[in-house]
């Protein structure tokens, strides 16, 4: 077999991963693994290895709960045939490899910069002269938005090519948020520093990224998380989902000028995020999830607080959501707006809630379950139209589902045993891949250690990495005035992408 078969969070010796000739590597992936519809690429990256670049590709098999990992060693000056010319879902991964290491591709559609990292191979490229796609025509005009947006959100530049009010093409240029997170993971030796980095990857997905990091780190250190830790992480992941989805529904109402929905759903989000403050002292749950321990053990009192909170939330949420989804003037704005078809979703490797709204059954909670998801017997909610309405309905239904999951979890709260564990140092020469379904979609962290157990590479993939392209494609042929709701219906992370 020319690939390793791993489970989520399984640690393997790095030299057990087959190293193939690039031609064989490419054939195994593009003509082999990726031809199966149940497989998709969760991470593909490079790192410096003995004067060369080692490429590591991780393909998740959603049916058999396996992750296939294979690698190839190439020269830094190599010019290679691209995966992207045959499979579009590798488009951004290869752009990233080109940007970081200077590896060339002969038939990649366009090797544009991804995020202008401080350690880019070609430092002559700067963010202010990004090569936008252009159409020379007297009938068309361009609209540039950002990097600083009208609202209080993160920076990124959107360049529209419009025919009157209609969008022909949108290009999204990112990189403004680049902080060098992956490099800092190698440099910051203290575990609290690493955990803090993880919670700062995307401040709206603190639980998603900290639980992914914690699981990965525990696996590196040969530590099996206790039921109490897994319980806390599962509960927190679902509560984060309820909170953000509620806020997103509120924001979708804002963008179609539906003030009532905005206000009511906005205020309903508050008790859900305040619950994190009641539990761990921080509304966005910073400080709550840590490798090998929890500083704020879960108690029966906390369970009662949650049940009281949700008993007040549910009737008001149901009432508001009934109004919202029965309002013709609002539905008219959401239906058939910003469509991503199933074909497009599959071709670009869309993940998470946005993929499920386009009919793609892709959910790590089902396909590669960790923590307590196996016992929850998760059934993903799937919609088929791929429009803003589908992405709104998914949120509505996932909120109810998450509430049910937490209620189920609360029937069996694990005993509060010993919570602080002194973790060993990471095992040397190891590889671990960790996947978590955050509220936005699949989060993937990969790590490799050297012969002393120090990190050689820490690779992060936020679900936004793939999904930004879906936003750009979804707005084609829509009115430019519908861009805000399209954008909000995906609610992607800038910092999670730029790292």
């Amino acid at each position: 077999m020319n690939y390793s078969v791993l489970k989520n969070n399984q640690r393997v010796p790095v030299n057990s991963i087959p190293v193939l000739k690039y031609e064989d590597f490419m054939e195994s992936i593009v003509s082999g693994l990726m031809t199966d519809k149940n497989n998709h690429c969760v991470n593909y990256f490079g790192y410096h290895h003995q004067d060369k670049i080692k490429l590591i590709c991780c393909i998740a098999d959603d049916l058999n709960h396996d992750i296939y990992v294979l690698s190839s060693l190439v020269e830094q000056s190599a010019v290679l045939p691209s995966f992207s010319s045959q499979n579009l879902s590798f488009e951004k991964f290869e752009r990233e490899i080109h940007e970081n290491f200077g590896i060339g591709y002969i038939d990649h559609p366009w090797l544009k910069p991804v995020r202008y990292p401080f350690n880019a191979a070609d430092k002559s490229k700067t963010i202010s002269n990004y090569p936008f796609y252009r159409i020379e025509s007297e009938e068309l005009h361009e609209v540039g938005v950002g990097p600083i947006h009208a609202g209080v959100i993160e920076p990124g530049h959107f360049r529209f090519i419009c025919n009157g009010e209609q969008i022909l093409h949108l290009e999204i240029q990112l990189g403004y948020q680049h902080r060098g997170v992956e490099q800092l993971f190698l440099e910051k030796k203290n575990l609290l520093q690493k955990a803090t980095l993880a919670e700062n990857i995307a401040g709206d997905t603190v639980i998603g990224h900290t639980s992914t990091f914690s699981k990965l780190w525990e696996s590196l250190c040969s530590y099996k998380a206790t039921p109490e830790l897994e319980f806390a992480r599962t509960l927190a992941l679902e509560n984060e989902r309820i909170a953000i989805h509620t806020g997103d529904l509120s924001a979708i109402c804002t963008d179609v000028a539906y003030q009532l929905g905005n206000s009511v759903l906005g205020r309903l989000r508050t008790p859900v995020i305040n619950y994190f403050q009641i539990w761990g002292g921080n509304r966005l749950a910073k400080g709550l999830i840590r490798p090998g321990k929890i500083n704020f053990p879960y108690t029966k009192e906390l369970a009662k607080e949650w049940l009281d909170m949700i008993a007040a939330y549910e009737p008001d949420f149901k009432e508001m959501i009934r109004q919202m989804f029965n309002l013709p003037s609002l539905l008219a704005r959401l239906e058939k707006t910003g469509v991503v078809t199933t074909d497009v979703a599959e071709s670009i490797g869309l993940v998470g809630m946005a993929a499920r709204a386009s009919g793609v059954n892709r959910d790590i909670r089902l396909s590669h379950p960790d923590n307590l998801y196996e016992q929850l017997n998760h059934k993903p909610i799937i919609k088929h139209h791929g429009d803003v309405l589908s992405r709104s309905q998914i949120r509505r239904e996932e909120i109810f589902q998450s509430i049910e999951y937490i209620k189920q979890l609360l029937t069996d709260i694990p005993e509060n045993l010993k919570y602080t564990t002194e973790l060993n140092t990471p095992e040397p020469d190891s590889f671990v891949i960790s996947l978590t379904e955050g509220w936005r979609g699949e989060i993937c962290h990969c790590a490799i250690t050297d012969n002393k157990g120090e990190l050689v590479i820490y690779k992060i993939k936020d679900p936004s990495f793939h999904n930004w392209l879906a936003l750009a494609l979804s707005v084609r042929n829509n009115e430019i005035s519908d861009f805000p709701i399209c954008n909000k219906s995906f609610n992607l992370s800038y910092c999670g992408h730029d790292l």
Binding site: F118, S128, G175, H178, Q183, R267, K286, G287
Partner: protein, 242 residues
């Protein structure tokens, strides 16, 4: 839908936040192993002689208070704003509120912005947590708009800028352009640990914080992220000082 009632917090200066919020810490005079205490904080926020915590560097993780409960206690005091960088340093044996120093507030601030302050928010590599809380400050519960404080879409309409995030190299130029486009007189507010000190990113080669060397900062709001009540109280402290 009438049963929604009145959702706003009647008095944002005295409201109590739920749970175990980690706000302004109090450091007792208890004798502890100071070296161990300093080492527990990898963000260099804790210093000895006398023991102090710099809330501009603190990530509010609470590890120090868990390890040394007799020495450090985080209170629920969310008033964490001042116009002096040194005002964010909490010293042992002192339990005093953090506030704006009226002597150092520019005279025109109260006169021009006392009843209406419009701000342009610039996220400069912020992780979207402080940005999130700024939006929350405007929701129907915190309702910052009732004090005339609002975020606006254009720097041309703004009386100042609020910076979140550690300021990446890639955002350095847009930040400068935005500041230059804001009409005089204007103020600068730094919100959150990352903006104030760079936080966990402070020595990252991907940052460019030179903007901060050029201008006087009018308000520092501490927090990771900043709590909506910290934001509102901070703004009110600044514009209401005569």
């Amino acid at each position: 839908m009438y049963h929604q009632g009145k959702q706003f917090i009647p008095d944002v200066t005295t409201a109590e936040v739920p749970g175990i919020f980690r706000g302004r810490p109090i450091i007792s005079n208890a004798k502890v192993n100071e070296e161990a205490l300093i080492n527990i904080c990898p963000f260099n926020a804790i210093k000895a002689n006398p023991v102090s915590i710099d809330l501009g560097k603190c990530t509010f993780c609470g590890e120090c208070a868990l390890a040394f409960p007799e020495k450090i206690k985080f209170t629920k005091d969310y008033k964490l704003s001042t116009n002096e960088r040194s005002g964010l340093i909490v010293v042992e044996g002192q339990d005093k509120p953090i506030d704006v120093n009226p002597e150092l507030v520019r005279k025109e601030i109260h006169k021009l912005f006392g009843g209406s302050l419009k701000l342009r928010q610039v996220s400069a590599a912020g992780d979207n947590s402080c940005e999130w809380e700024m939006n929350a400050a405007g929701n129907v519960q915190f309702d910052m708009g009732r004090f005339g404080v609002e975020f606006v879409a254009s720097p041309r309409h703004a009386d100042g800028i609020v910076i979140t995030g550690p300021i990446s190299e890639n955002m350095a130029e847009p930040l400068q352009i935005c500041y230059d486009a804001t009409p005089d007189p204007k103020i600068i507010i730094l919100a959150g640990t990352d903006a104030i000190s760079g936080g966990i990113f402070n020595d990252s080669p991907a940052l460019n914080r030179s903007f901060l060397d050029k201008y006087k900062i009018d308000l520092y709001i501490a927090g990771n992220p900043v709590h909506p009540l910290s934001i509102i109280n901070g703004m009110l402290h600044l514009i209401r000082k005569r």
